[in-house]
Symmetry: C2
Subunit: 366 residues, 2 copies
């Protein structure tokens, strides 16, 4: 049987009230007494029953998610996952609000972060623009004891508590590795399409990609990086121009968003030698392009996983609890047309009507 506060009290030879004071860091306990209690806790291996504690506290976790607005498919998918989490709010004791700000706009993001701080939530998750102003704003939150998790794109040199996203350098390296091997001895230059160098994830991917291409596949010339601002129309135009200027192109690595534009440009091109295309994020567009063969591989981060992870981490940090590191590591999914996951759809057991068949005695006491 798991030890309780009563057991601590008995073991330490103090009253329940004192144990409570120590556990909840209330004032009015001498250091010696506090240490006696802490030793007892250590000795009998007490762990707070978080469920009971939350019940007693009536605790809820107000969380704020800040992400870019606009019609970026990935970001909208992310938002959808957050909304799915909102539906689970009553069960998870969260109160999630979503704030959107223009993409790549550090000023707007700082304003949103400061507004978030004003309502002192239990935690903030943010898709970061990597700039010193933003770092400062995040650090202001941290100083106010509000845990912050960066989501999807990290922040350089800030005190954020955690990054819920993939290792983007590794993603870029992986893209290069696949690109090089898929191309084999096929000649021709490789183009890189990015969104903006203002966000860390894009910079990291580029860094990893360039490193492996130069080291392992130096025969392939790399064209100057194209910045599409994650805007499909702009991307379509720029890629169209590039294809016209360099018809012998052998590969394209799209490390940002706006892949709709890329796919449109590729379709428009029509015939010509095959181009190996590697893109990021599995959206309806990239999925279709993968199935139809315009794209050869998609590197993906699971938005649902990231959102759930961010929530778990924020709650844990707010309570000063441990985090299962391995569980919070977001993996780089590599999708070829052969391992596409089935379309979404969650197994829904009705929570109430069904379980009846299991006998009530199933649970044990003690």
């Amino acid at each position: 049987m798991r030890p309780t506060v009563h057991d601590i009290a008995a073991a330490a030879g103090v009253s329940l009230a004192t144990v409570d004071r120590v556990l909840n860091r209330r004032p009015g306990v001498r250091i010696v007494t506090r240490e006696k209690v802490e030793q007892a806790i250590e000795r009998i291996g007490y762990v707070r029953d978080v469920a009971a504690a939350n019940l007693a506290k009536g605790r809820v976790y107000p969380l704020i998610f800040i992400l870019p607005s606009g019609d970026n498919s990935f970001m909208r998918g992310l938002e959808e996952e957050i909304r799915a989490a909102i539906l689970r709010s009553p069960v998870e004791r969260t109160e999630i609000s979503i704030v959107t700000v223009p993409a790549f706009d550090a000023g707007a993001l700082v304003a949103a972060l400061d507004e978030a701080a004003a309502v002192s939530p239990a935690g903030v998750a943010v898709v970061a623009v990597d700039s010193p102003d933003v770092v400062a704003a995040v650090d202001r939150l941290r100083v106010g004891h509000i845990p912050v998790v960066t989501l999807v794109s990290d922040l350089t040199g800030s005190a954020r508590d955690h990054f819920a996203g993939i290792d983007n350098i590794a993603a870029g390296r992986t893209a290069a590795s696949l690109m090089g091997r898929f191309l084999g001895h096929r000649p021709g230059p490789v183009a890189v399409l990015a969104g903006s160098m203002l966000v860390r994830d894009h910079r990291d991917r580029l860094e990893g990609f360039l490193a492996v291409m130069e080291e392992m596949f130096p025969d392939h010339r790399l064209l100057p990086v194209i910045e599409g601002q994650d805007d499909p129309a702009r991307v379509a135009r720029l890629i169209g121009e590039t294809l016209a200027a360099s018809p012998e192109i052998a590969g394209i690595y799209s490390l940002g968003a706006g892949n709709r534009g890329l796919i449109a440009a590729l379709k428009k091109r029509g015939k010509g030698p095959p181009i190996c295309v590697i893109a990021h994020e599995l959206t309806p567009h990239t999925r279709a392009a993968l199935e139809e063969g315009q794209i050869d591989a998609v590197l993906n981060q699971d938005a649902g996983h990231e959102v759930r992870s961010a929530i778990r981490v924020l709650k844990a940090k707010a309570d000063g609890m441990a985090v299962v590191g391995a569980q919070e590591r977001i993996r780089i999914d590599i999708f070829l047309k052969d391992n596409l996951p089935f379309e979404q759809g969650s197994e829904t057991n009705l929570p109430f009507e069904q379980g009846s068949r299991n006998e009530p005695e199933q649970g044990r006491k003690d």
Copy 2:
């Protein structure tokens, strides 16, 4: 504010006791009254506070994990993950026991399942040998209202509640797709190394691999499937013989375990034209081989994820609760040497000593 049992009572115009009788399926409620209560529940959108309910019940979930014995690295890693889950038991209210049975031995597995049934646990997770006897044993458990989750390898045509593992047909297809593209126009036959056709995961991988090879890369001749029984020594011998018999071999797909033997045989071979090797499961051995270049790609399933998922699902099923489908989908990880995850190690916040810096007032009431 979330509705409680009191709110149901008020809304339905009955007493708390009656609400309790309906909620917990106790006898002594007329159908009309029961319906009145159920409508009220529906109407005000009540959801049982599982934490409070578990607290009141003092519920724990006795779970049994059944997996193969032997020195299969993946399975031992799986066992380690189960032990990690046992450490979290007090927090998760689980009581996990591990049972090991000889690999590929349906009879032993059936015996273990029946023994498990005898102690009527809250749920059973099993790495299944795919045979009718095992299906029958699992179905006996299900008839006894004990939820069953198959782990890693599924069971054909049984009533198991859930499969916590990857889509192995897709994994085989993916392996073929990578193999074909990595080989490019390099000629030479491809060898397939399996463990045993008695387990579903191996059969599925083979099926997927063969399908894509035949359809997309018909130029590559496939050598007869080698069955290594997941035994490194046997694998080393068989692969050694194969390499000697077919020195022009271009690729090897190892879809089972015993990769230590494969790697040893490859090292022993030494020089010769490069062989594209794709294997399953990231273990210390395959990881090293990936880094050193003996293996080109590793398809992996995250054992930790599978174990945690199995536990979540079993608990949910035992309570008749809903399952977040997307969260329980186990992904096929593809590792090249460029995207290997860092070595393990969980961020450890001490649960108690640290969090102090966050103010106690952080939590809200209401």
